[in-house]
Amino acid sequence: MRCFSVRKRLSPYVDGELPGREARKLESHLAGCQRCAADFQETAGVHALFAGARRFSAPQGFSAAVMEKVEARSTNTFSLVPLLVRFAGAAAVVLAIAAGAVSGDVLMSSLVPHRGPEGETVMASLSLDVFDASPPGSLGHGYLSVTGDRR
């Protein structure tokens, strides 16, 4: 076995994954080749480092946490309630606006049955412009009469 082939097989050899015949050839090469033997030492050294590496235990409460997450996801997946709650407020606002628009339209139609001078008067009477901020006899009217600032 040549050095190139040996180096390719060092890692599987360390893992015990080399077939017996190949393993024996490799061992006989290592016995006579210092450079490959040094490479083997390095590979075996890395492997040995893991021998002391610890195996961990999952933290306390791990299983319970997993099952809680699983339940939470299942609930989220199958329930429409959160979706309905989220959009209920917006739906109520839209309905109120639509009802207001429809009833306003009905009201206007009943007050202004046809267009013309009469209809314009009714429209004007609905306008806020017809209201006087200081009608005669009011405190505001008296004050403005005294100061002469009548708008």
């Binding site: 890692s11 002391g52 590496a53 610890r54 933290p59 997993v66």
Partner: protein, 186 residues
């Protein structure tokens, strides 16, 4: 009951069958996550997410491979996603190698061997942290989880030759890094 028996029971609606699988594999999956992610909180999150995903996917599981290689595949993908998420944090706050060591030394017989153990583990984590995920994952699966090349290949969905070559390269790189480290300190 074996894994496939538990899976069949779970498919019939028995959640406790899943809990049995969880109890059986939680330590192995958590250990894998600890070696792939340095931070134990990240490892805890990733391990939990692995089982949550497994729960969601288990009804569609077909027994072409063993359950645990399937579970390992989920765990590896979850860890890689988690690594991407925390990569910026890791770049900003480089790990000091303490996470493997925080509870490792209590069983050591003497202060000297305790020190040696800590140094060895520190060296292990430091070099592991510098390996790319491509090399690190199969090496950890081999060395820590003690899976065969075939099992690793099934879990990672690559050929046995690729696993062999990646583990070999991982060891070469780790050996090279450790040699550099020894030369610096010696």
């Amino acid at each position: 009951m074996d894994d496939f028996g538990n899976i069949e029971e779970f498919k019939k609606g028995d959640v406790s069958a899943f809990e049995e699988l969880l109890l059986k594999y939680k330590d192995r999956i958590y250990t894998l996550c600890r070696y792939l992610l340095e931070d134990h909180h990240d490892a805890d999150d990733a391990a939990q997410d692995t089982f949550v995903k497994a729960f969601q996917e288990l009804k569609g599981f077909t027994p072409t491979a063993s359950f645990y290689t399937w579970l390992y595949r989920i765990a590896v993908n979850t860890c890689l996603d988690q690594r991407r998420k925390v990569s910026l944090r890791k770049r900003l706050f480089v790990s000091d190698g303490a996470s493997f060591l925080d509870t490792a030394s209590s069983q050591s017989p003497s202060p000297e061997s305790d020190y040696e153990t800590r140094q060895a583990l520190l060296s292990l984590q430091t070099t592991l942290n510098h390996l790319s995920a491509k090399l690190r994952v199969p090496l950890v699966m081999k060395e820590v989880e003690e899976l065969s090349y075939e099992e690793i290949a099934a879990a990672l969905d690559v050929s046995v030759g690729t696993v062999k070559s990646r583990i070999s390269r991982a060891r070469e790189e780790m050996g090279r890094m450790m040699k550099i480290s020894r030369n610096k300190t010696g």
